[in-house]
C-alpha cells in the first residue's frame, strides 16, 4: 500500500476510527492529515483522471456530491418506508458509507461491471441507477428494476453494468471475477469491481477467486468495505491477522483508504482501475467506513454491540458528506449555496421517486412464472 492513499479530511484528526478496538494491526488510516495540506488538500496526489479529486472541476465534484446525497436521502426514505410499514420485508442501509461507492464508481465507465451486496443501494445509485425504479423495486412493484422479483437485496441494473446485489455474503465474488474473465476473453478493457463487506472475509469463495484472478491477471478490483461489524459482531472478533495480509498472500496489489473521504477513495480507485485496465491484474482496496443504521432497518437496539457514543462520533466527526462539503467549500471549488441547491434537488427527486414507487402497480399474479427460465 502506498501512504499517499491515506486520508486527509478537513476535520480535526481523531485518534482512530471509533469502534476500533485494537489499533495498530490494520488501521493505518486514521483520518489524520498526516502530511501537509497542499492547495489540492492532499498528500502525494497525482494521476490526472484518476478520480474526482485529481482536479478541481466543479461539475465533477458536484456530480459526486449529488450521488452521495442521493444515496443518503434514498436511505432515509427507505428507512421511513419500512418504519411506516409501507415496505415489505426489510432492508440494509448504506448511509455512512456513501464515499466508498461513489468514489469507486466515479473511476468506472458505464460499461464496467460491479457486483454488490445485501447493503447495495449505494452501489446501485453510484453506478447510475434511477431512484424511482429502485423505490418501485423495493416496494415490489412491476415497474421496479427487476419487476419486483428481486427487492432490496437483489437489485440488478445491467444497463449500467450492475450485475446485481447479492444476499449471500461474499456470494458475488465469483461473479465479479467471472465478469473480469469475460472482459479479458472478449478483448475489451472493461473492469469489474466486487464490493463486499468485511464480513465476507470469512467466506472461502473470496480466496478461491482471488487466487484465480491473480493467476490469470484479471481486471478485477475487490473492494472491502470495513464498516466494523459482521452483522452484530465486531470484525476483530471474527478476523484473524491483518486483513491486507490475505490478498497479499496471493501477490495481489493492495491499498487502504479512509472510506469517509470521497476524494481519497476516488483517487485510489482511479489508480487501481487504471492498473486493471492496463492489464496489470487485480487489486484489493480496504476502505474503512461505518454504517449509520443497524445491520438492517429492524436493528434498532444496538447497545449490546456498539455504543451510541461511537455512532454519534462517526456521524458528527466522520460524516462523508459533511467532510466533502467542507473540503469543497474551503477550497472554493463550489459554494455552500451550490451544495444546498444540490441537496434540495435531490430531496425533490427522491420525494417524487417515492411517490412513483408507492403509486406504481404491483405485478400481475401471472408474472410469478415468468423469468424462471430464459
Amino acid at each position: 500500500m502506498t501512504t499517499s492513499w491515506t486520508v486527509t479530511p478537513p476535520e480535526p484528526p481523531s485518534a482512530a476510527p471509533a469502534g476500533s478496538r485494537s489499533m495498530g494491526k490494520e488501521h493505518r488510516v486514521t483520518g489524520r492529515p498526516t502530511a501537509s495540506k497542499s492547495s489540492a488538500g492532499r498528500t502525494g496526489r497525482k494521476a490526472p483522471g484518476a478520480g474526482v479529486s485529481a482536479d478541481s472541476d466543479p461539475p465533477r465534484h458536484l456530480h459526486s456530491y449529488r450521488q452521495m446525497m442521493r444515496i443518503r436521502v434514498f436511505e432515509e426514505h427507505a428507512n421511513d418506508l419500512y418504519l411506516s410499514a409501507k415496505m415489505p420485508g426489510l432492508t440494509h442501509m448504506y448511509a455512512g458509507e456513501e464515499a466508498v461507492a461513489v468514489g469507486v464508481c466515479d473511476a468506472l465507465t458505464r460499461e464496467d461491471y460491479i457486483t454488490s451486496t445485501h447493503r447495495g443501494h449505494g452501489h446501485c445509485i453510484a453506478k447510475g441507477a434511477r431512484l424511482d425504479l429502485m423505490f418501485a423495486e423495493l416496494l415490489g412493484k412491476a415497474s421496479g428494476y427487476n419487476r419486483g422479483k428481486g427487492g432490496s437485496m437483489h437489485i440488478a441494473d445491467q444497463e449500467n453494468g450492475n450485475l446485481g446485489a447479492n444476499a449471500i455474503v461474499g456470494g458475488s465474488a465469483g461473479i465479479a471475477t467471472g465478469a473480469a474473465l469475460s472482459a479479458r476473453m472478449q478483448g475489451t478493457d472493461r473492469v469489474a469491481v466486487c464490493f463486499f463487506g468485511e464480513g465476507a472475509l470469512g467466506q472461502g469463495l473470496l480466496y478461491e477467486v482471488m487466487n484465480m484472478a491473480q493467476l490469470w491477471k484479471l481486471p478485477v478490483l475487490y473492494v472491502c468495505e470495513n464498516n466494523l461489524y459482521n452483522e452484530y459482531t465486531h470484525f476483530e472478533e471474527t478476523t484473524a491477522g491483518a486483513i491486507l495480509d490475505r490478498p497479499r498472500a496471493f501477490g495481489i496489489h493492495t491499498a487502504e483508504v479512509d472510506g469517509q473521504d470521497v476524494t481519497a477513495v476516488s483517487a485510489v480507485a482511479g489508480e487501481l482501475v487504471a492498473r486493471a485496465r492496463r492489464g496489470d491484474g487485480p487489486s484489493f482496496l480496504l476502505a474503512h467506513t461505518y454504517r449509520y443504521y443497524g445491520h438492517h432497518v429492524g436493528d434498532i437496539q444496538r447497545d449490546y454491540y456498539r455504543s451510541k457514543d461511537e455512532e454519534s462520533h462517526w456521524r458528527s466527526e466522520r460524516d462523508p458528506l459533511t467532510l466533502y462539503a467542507a473540503w469543497l467549500t474551503e477550497r472554493g471549488i463550489v459554494t455552500a449555496a451550490e451544495l444546498e441547491a444540490v441537496e434540495a434537488e435531490v430531496r425533490a427527486e427522491a420525494e417524487a421517486a417515492v411517490t412513483f414507487g408507492l403509486e406504481a402497480p404491483y405485478p400481475d399474479e401471472s408474472e410469478v412464472t415468468l423469468h424462471v427460465y430464459a
Binding site: 461491471y113 457486483t115 421496479g144 428494476y145 427487476n146 419487476r147 419486483g148 422479483k149 428481486g150 437483489h154 440488478a156 441494473d157 445491467q158 450485475l163 446485481g164 447479492n166 444476499a167 449471500i168 456470494g171 458475488s172 465474488a173 465469483g174 461473479i175 465479479a176 471475477t177 467471472g178 465478469a179 473480469a180 474473465l181 469475460s182 472482459a183 476473453m185 472478449q186 469489474a192 472461502g204 469463495l205 478461491e208 477467486v209 487466487n211 484465480m212 493467476l215 415468468l370 423469468h371 424462471v372 427460465y373 430464459a374
Partner: protein, 339 residues
C-alpha cells in the same frame, strides 16, 4: 435403442463411437461454431480430465478456452456464472458429481436465480458437466448420484444422457440454451459405444425417448439405469413379458407426456434411478406418472433406487447398493401376473 429420436437436426450417417468421444465431439463442434464457448475446470487441458473425455481439445482451442483451474470448485463455478452473465458461454467441468456439494451456492443461489431475480434482465447460459454412478470401487465420496438435488431447483435444467448419441445431442442443446444446464454423465458409460450421427445433432432438453418398445410393463429409467432396464427387458422376454423402456433424458424440463403415455399403454410402471430412493428423482417421476395415468394403472407405480446408505468401498457391499437387471426382472415378474 431402436426407436428413432425426435431431433431438430439434419443427421449425417451414424458411426460407432464411445460416449466419451461423443461428448468431446459435441464440445469441439460447439467451440468451433461459437467463440464464446469455453471450458474450465480441474485438469481439463493437457490432462483432458482423469476420464480423458476432453483429450485433444486444448491442442485445438488453446489454454484460454480449455482452462485449467485450481482445485476450487465453488470458485471456478462462480467465475463461470459471472462469465455467463457477461456474454460468454462457459462449460464447467466438475470432475465428480459428489463435488456438487461444493458448488451448490453458486448453482442454486446464483446461477439458478439470477434470471428470475433480475426480472429477466440477466441470463446465465452455462453448462456444468458432472458425473454420477457407483460400482467403480471409489467409496462414499466419489460415487454418489446427486442429480435430484439440482433437479429440485427451479431455474436449473438437468440432463442425463444414457447413450453416446444422447451425450452428443444433449450437450450441444445445453450449450445453446440460455439457462444454466447441469449435465450428469454416468462414469461407467464413458467407454460404451453406440451409433452417433456425424455433424449436427441437437436433442432438445425435455424430450424423453422410448429406448425399447413393449406392451406389458414400462421401465422409466435414467442414465446408468437405462442399460439395466434394457438388460432386464431382454431377460423378461424369456418369461413372455414385454417391457418398454422410456428414458426421460432430462429431468428438468421433464417430458411427462411421454412417460404417462407409456404408463397408460402398459398399465404397470417401475421407475429406476441410481439416486438414493428416499426423496429421490424416482419419487418425483413415480408421482408424475401416478397423477397422469392413475385410471390406467393395474398396479401401484414402483421405484428402484440406490439403497439409502453411503456407498461402501468393499465390492461385496457396494454391489448390493445399486439396482441390477436381476432385481428389476424379479420385480417385473412379481408385478405382471402370468397370462
Amino acid at each position: 435403442m431402436s426407436t428413432p429420436s425426435r431431433t431438430l437436426s439434419k443427421e449425417g450417417p451414424a458411426r460407432t463411437i464411445t460416449f466419451s468421444q461423443a461428448v468431446n465431439e459435441a464440445l469441439a463442434e460447439e467451440m468451433r461454431r461459437d467463440p464464446r464457448v469455453f471450458i474450465l475446470g480441474e485438469d481439463v487441458a493437457e490432462a483432458g480430465t482423469p476420464f480423458k473425455v476432453l483429450s485433444g481439445l486444448v491442442e485445438e482451442f488453446g489454454p484460454e478456452r480449455v482452462r485449467d483451474t485450481p482445485i476450487s470448485e465453488a470458485g471456478f463455478t462462480g467465475v463461470a456464472v459471472g462469465a455467463a452473465m457477461t456474454g460468454m458461454r462457459p462449460v464447467v467441468d466438475l470432475m465428480f458429481g459428489d463435488f456438487l456439494t461444493l458448488v451448490m451456492d453458486q448453482l442454486v443461489n446464483q446461477a439458478a436465480k439470477t434470471h428470475y431475480m433480475s426480472g429477466g434482465k440477466l441470463k446465465v447460459p452455462m453448462v456444468l458437466r458432472t458425473t454420477l454412478g457407483a460400482t467403480r470401487r471409489s467409496a462414499a465420496q466419489h460415487s454418489q448420484s446427486l442429480h435430484a438435488w439440482v433437479s429440485h431447483i427451479p431455474g436449473l435444467k438437468v440432463a442425463l444422457p444414457a447413450t453416446p448419441r444422447d451425450a452428443k445431442g444433449l450437450m450441444k442443446a445445453a450449450i445453446r440454451d440460455d439457462n444454466p444446464v447441469v449435465i450428469v454423465e454416468d462414469k461407467l458409460s464413458f467407454q460404451d459405444k453406440g451409433p452417433v450421427p456425424e455433424g449436427e445433432l441437437i436433442i432438445p432438453l425435455g424430450q424423453a425417448e422410448v429406448k425399447r418398445a413393449g406392451t406389458d410393463i414400462t421401465f422409466v429409467a435414467t442414465s446408468s439405469m437405462v442399460l439395466v432396464a434394457l438388460q432386464a427387458a431382454e431377460q423378461l422376454e424369456a418369461h413372455g413379458i414385454s417391457a418398454e423402456v422410456v428414458d426421460p433424458r432430462s429431468l428438468a424440463p421433464l417430458d411427462a407426456d411421454t412417460l404417462i403415455a407409456s404408463a397408460r399403454k402398459t398399465g404397470r410402471v417401475v421407475v429406476v434411478d441410481e439416486g438414493h430412493q428416499s426423496y429421490g428423482a424416482s419419487a418425483e417421476l413415480a408421482a408424475v406418472i401416478a397423477d397422469g395415468a392413475f385410471y390406467y394403472l393395474d398396479a401401484p407405480v414402483r421405484r428402484m433406487g440406490a439403497m439409502d446408505v453411503p456407498v461402501p468401498f468393499s465390492p461385496v457391499l457396494e454391489d448390493v447398493t445399486v439396482p441390477t437387471p436381476k432385481q428389476l426382472t424379479a420385480l417385473a415378474r412379481e408385478m405382471c401376473p402370468p397370462a
